[in-house]
Symmetry: C2
Amino acid sequence: MSKVFFDVGISLDGYIAGPNGGPKNPLGDEGIKIHNWMFKQKAFLEHLKIEGGETNNVDNDIIENIFNRIGANIMGKRMFVEGEANWPEESPFHCPVFVLTHEKREPWIRPGGTTFYFTDESIQDVLKKAKQSAGKKDVRISGGAKVIQQYLNAGLIDEFTIHIAPIVIGAGVQLFEHLDKSKFSFEIKEVVNSPEVTHLLYIVKNKR
Amino acid sequence: MSKVFFDVGISLDGYIAGPNGGPKNPLGDEGIKIHNWMFKQKAFLEHLKIEGGETNNVDNDIIENIFNRIGANIMGKRMFVEGEANWPEESPFHCPVFVLTHEKREPWIRPGGTTFYFTDESIQDVLKKAKQSAGKKDVRISGGAKVIQQYLNAGLIDEFTIHIAPIVIGAGVQLFEHLDKSKFSFEIKEVVNSPEVTHLLYIVKNKR
């Protein structure tokens, strides 16, 4: 059955982006360090139409598996605005992306299969649409942190992966805050390690 | 060669203890949940002179290995005060423990091999004494968080293990804060997973 998930790179001190992020400073100060492992992998680079990259390692496999399972994305307005200024012409999603925003805007169709839909409906209703679009594939809650927190608190996430980079960055956007822990519990499903990052997959249980 | 290390249980949101900790509330509100996996293991319980507990699993092995390598401990005053009110007659260390405090106090000898030494020397000088006491064994920086942070920032930690419990607790004592990241970098050495906790061992590099 189709699942709802998120996966994010995170520092040892819990940040998924550095401070002062925005269209001119994507991922925030030093935020790119959290994702260094990812920017080296072919499976990531080819989504940005960049040649090269590493293959035949667990990090690349994990990225490939994640991309392959996504049938639709949901993201917050700030993430979209930051990406709009930085993604290539061919946006790196290749499927529908639902952007949570109060701004009225017509769907934005990009070459390569990405269409952005702008909506101010409830997160529940947006998820229903995303699931319909995804078909048998999964829905990824792309971020940012606040959107992920909203979906977790609403009991709407089935599983998630964090990719822990062995660094501290000291400031920025925390992932696991503003959570209502009465609404879920987590179970460890799988852990995969590589020299540069540790991938932890959790199942969300007892959703209320 | 003898190493200096720390190992701590930690929640997914980075807490090693809950809020409102103290002698009457050891580990703070809900802090015990971070360590549930540990309180089940024979290797931990036997240090508290409690019978029973699980064996033949990686969690128990990891605790046993850690206890076996410790030749001396260093801890902060608050951790000591919290423990003094709660440890059994036979303190669970069985080797010298150096307590960082401005309080003058004679060494406190406990049955079972633990002696607490109270010192207001610099963290560097205390570490020298702990190393001498430990001989060929390792020195554990027991905690709390502020003491671990001081030793990390001084470039005095060789390696550390975090035991990540799949929970969020939302408030309490953060481990990875107040760190001067210019003073070190981390390298992943080993990751061991079990159904209830993920153990991540890091080497500290580029100590300055």
